[in-house]
């Protein structure tokens, strides 16, 4: 438990270390990135154990979704670092003789990362020092990060601070050069309000209800693939406790029974007759969330809409993968982000009606659309707004490092992954270099009609005009105002 003063001292140390300039060096950054990678590779077993303890997450799911994607990101950062760090030349108009302009990325300074399980890849690649505050809801993972990670990284530059929301509050009172927050919109508001004190830029990765729209697919092969991907995108991803989990489904009325039948078949194949025994579905993270989810199902009308699953084991914090059809839209299960293994299916008359449905709700982090209809695809992109759109799959956009990952509206702002992570923790500094040799003497007062003329043509990059005026061959078109 850190007292406020001890915390302030730790952040001061990070700032002093940052100001020593060490973290700006490319070699330092590379060492840290390699350290992160070694941690993931050498401590793989411990990581799986921690995830198993906190979430009963199957270790292959853990690799697929967490360890694996992190290693991939680290490899990319290591191979691209020099390129990311170098400046970019900015084009200047020809009239700017003997001048040069460039944009150079520089670290912001000391950054705060408040997250579930986010690694400081971007922060470190961009040359910052950082505090990581992992989620207290996953205590084994949090402890592993605190103890394990620090032996692989420069302890003077990266600190892991554990604790409850009170610790987050104290952290938010310190001065940061950037805050990166992953979590709920409610806490996101608190984070941004705290950031005002020092005008700290923030990135907020929030959540929302990520819909999966399923068109009436004609090919049975496509149908199976779609169903598998949706089921994995819901129940196979931390039991639906991920910001990009499929939250609910939108499907045409006439296609619903086909969809449901296929889903039931594949539920059994993937998760077995008794999912709790097979351990292919993670458990609910804690009692509070278990009760929250139990409450969502408590509504009588929601109960009546259940078509599969519904059983719960409070002692083991386990909820069976559950599907319902058309629960009331004003019930909590359709107004709040579910973040659990409960899957509502909402039917619409025509699939195009799902556009209006989606737009009547806050913008989600991800939109999933299963269709081969190109016109529907185009309409989905241009007529809805979401952090991202993925066609014919779920979750996997998270692994595409060339795509920015972030929300819009209620689902957040800012983004990361790949180079976007580097950019998010950088300041793009503009540098203009001029020579003493060239001058636009008409920049300076006292002002005359001639100077006005020259400035006009210069501004319009009207080189011929410039020449003519200089040679006295162009007359000034009077504007009526005395200069």
């Amino acid at each position: 438990m850190n007292s406020s003063i001890a915390l302030e001292r730790e952040v001061e140390e990070l700032r002093e270390y940052y100001e020593s300039g060490k973290t700006k060096e490319a070699s330092w950054r590379e060492t840290q990135l390699r350290g992160l990678r070694s941690f993931l590779q050498e401590k793989e077993e411990e990581i799986f154990k921690a995830l198993e303890k906190d979430l009963r997450k199957h270790h292959i799911e853990a690799f697929r979704d967490e360890v694996g994607t992190l290693i991939k990101s680290l490899n990319l950062a290591l191979s691209s670092l020099k390129q990311w760090m170098s400046g970019k030349k900015a084009k200047l108009p020809n009239i700017a003789l003997l001048s040069s302009a460039e944009i150079v990325p520089e670290p912001l300074g000391v950054v705060l990362i408040i997250s579930s399980w986010n690694f400081p890849i971007g922060a470190v690649a961009a040359g910052n020092t950082a505090v990581l505050k992992p989620s207290e809801l996953a205590p084994a993972c949090s402890a592993l990060l605190a103890s394990g990670l620090l032996s692989y990284l420069d302890k003077k530059a990266i600190k892991v601070i554990q604790g409850d929301p009170e610790v987050v509050k104290q952290l938010l009172e310190q001065r940061w050069d950037k805050i990166f927050f992953t979590g709920s919109p409610r806490v996101g508001r608190i984070v941004m309000s705290s950031a005002v004190k020092y005008l700290t830029p923030v990135t907020l990765e929030l959540g929302g209800k990520c819909p999966a729209v399923i068109d009436s697919l004609s090919s049975s092969f496509d149908r199976e693939v779609a169903v598998k991907r949706i089921l994995v995108g819901k129940f196979g991803t931390c039991a639906g406790q991920a910001c990009i989990s499929v939250d609910y489904i939108l499907v045409e009325k006439s296609f619903t029974s086909v969809l449901l039948d296929l889903m039931k078949v594949w539920m059994k194949k993937m998760f077995g007759e008794n999912p709790r025994e097979l351990k292919t579905v993670a458990r609910i993270v804690n009692k509070q969330h278990f009760l929250r989810l139990k409450n969502l199902l408590a509504d009588q009308r929601v109960q009546e809409s259940l078509v599969y699953g519904g059983s719960m084991d409070e002692d083991n914090l386990f909820i069976e993968p559950t599907i319902m059809v058309n629960p009331p839209l004003e019930a909590a299960i359709m107004t709040e982000e579910i973040f659990g293994p409960l899957l509502p299916i909402i039917t619409v008359e025509k699939i195009e009606d799902s556009i209006k449905f989606i737009n009547s709700r806050p913008k989600p982090l991800a939109l999933y659309v299963f269709t081969k209809n190109q016109s529907l695809q185009r309409r989905m992109i241009s007529e809805t707004s979401s952090g991202s759109v993925t066609f014919n799959d779920t979750i996997i956009q998270y692994a595409a490092d060339s795509l920015p990952f972030g929300g819009v509206g209620e689902s957040g702002f800012g983004n990361y992954h790949g180079k976007f992570s580097f950019d998010t923790f950088s300041h793009e500094k503009a540098i203009l270099r001029r020579s003493f040799l060239t001058e636009f003497w008409f920049r300076f007062p006292p002002w005359t009609v001639n100077k006005h003329q020259l400035l006009e043509v210069a501004y319009n990059y009207d080189y011929l005009g410039l020449l003519l005026v200089l040679l006295g061959l162009r007359r000034f078109k009077g504007r009526g105002s005395s200069v």
Partner: protein, 485 residues
Amino acid sequence: MAGEEPKNVFDAEAASSLARELRGTFLSGKTRSYEWRVSQLKALLKLVDDNEQEIVDALRSDLSKPPMESVVCEIGLLKNSCKVSLRELKHWMKPEKVKTSITTFPSSAEIVPEPLGVALVISAWNYPILLSLDPVVGAIAAGNAVVLKPSEISPATSSLLAKLLGKYMDNSCVRVVEGAADETTALLQQKWDKIFYTGNARIGRTVMTAAAKHLTPVVLELGGKSPAVVDSNINIKVASRRIIAGKWGCNNGQACISPDYIITTKDYAPKLVDALKTELETFYGKNPLESKDLSRIVNSNHFGRLTKLLDEDKVSGKIVYGGERDESKLMIAPTILLDVPRNSLIMNEEIFGPLLPIITVDKLEESFDVINSGTKPLAAYLFTNNKKLKEQFAKGISAGGLVVNDTTLHLAVHTLPFGGVGESGIGAYHGKFSFDAFTHKKAVLYRSFHGDAAVRYPPYSYMKLRLMKALIGGSINGIIRALFG
């Protein structure tokens, strides 16, 4: 009811109704088409072209701004901004295809720029035309609806903007709200999809606090003390002219990127002071209070603030040039001070006026410590021919933007992002950066139904783990080895 005056108060209800109306228009899709955006940008250009004289007159009324400055610094830059946007818009609007890797094979991906929705632009008083309309150019180019709140401290321009934008622009999507603190507060209570604010850090914080309630992203273009470091062994005549142009030539020092103060060596200071004096006289004559080429101080509030900085005990004796003032005309002459104490008022707040303190150090390298002991400024300037010093400056000074051997010009380069860092602001704009400031970069991934890796799905097995590791590692050999054991 007889005898009652109709109330034209812009209160919370009016603000809410305005936001609702514009949101409705935005959701109709009207602002998204290329044609609409082009028509509005062209309308803005026409607005400025047709009304140049009125704009110059309004700026003269609000700031006594010399017409040349109005034409060059405000109208000229704005027109350029419109033209660049018109020329590049098609390209900016195009989705950007990005590469995909073996992990998502087979797939294709792109980043689609989409408008955020309804933007609020809150502008400043010192360049009231440019700082109002330049962000509006960005909002429109990116396909948003926009509300502009011009500064009440430049009332003639504010009312001219309301009139002209009402006349030239599509009123269902572009609106002006005039007023002061009450009206701004009413606006800030609403939910916007982006807020773009230009002004001081104190109000910047108010804006960000209001934005936090709605999780609205913001751009804050603030200020700071932009230093100019002057080395010896330079073309001092040219350097002086450029410093003067950036200071008094920009609204008489009332510009966010004016060189706020100078740092030079003790040895060089006298030469610099002499050169500045000579050039100042060339520019503004022997009686600068009478010069028509200098803006006045915007109002008595700021006049009082600036004279207080000058009259502070430990500072008033440090004036080496100027210091004259005329309260009736709200004029303060270009003033240079030498070696004011570091703890004086004038060295602890952004001056935003025609006072230029020169701080001296023994060795020029010490200037970096002086700068870094303060908050990060919006701009920093260095005059030198020393290559090493230039490199140290570029690496060691954090500011929104840096200029070597000149001042303020980077504002006019549309390929450079213009914005602050730390206390000087959040976000940037100009050129494509303006378009990006009002855009959401939506990631779109197209996957095929084929090429499914069973490894993704439960029930899980060791074999699947090996294959997945190989897939994520992206090596063909790894995949082959995993498949064939």
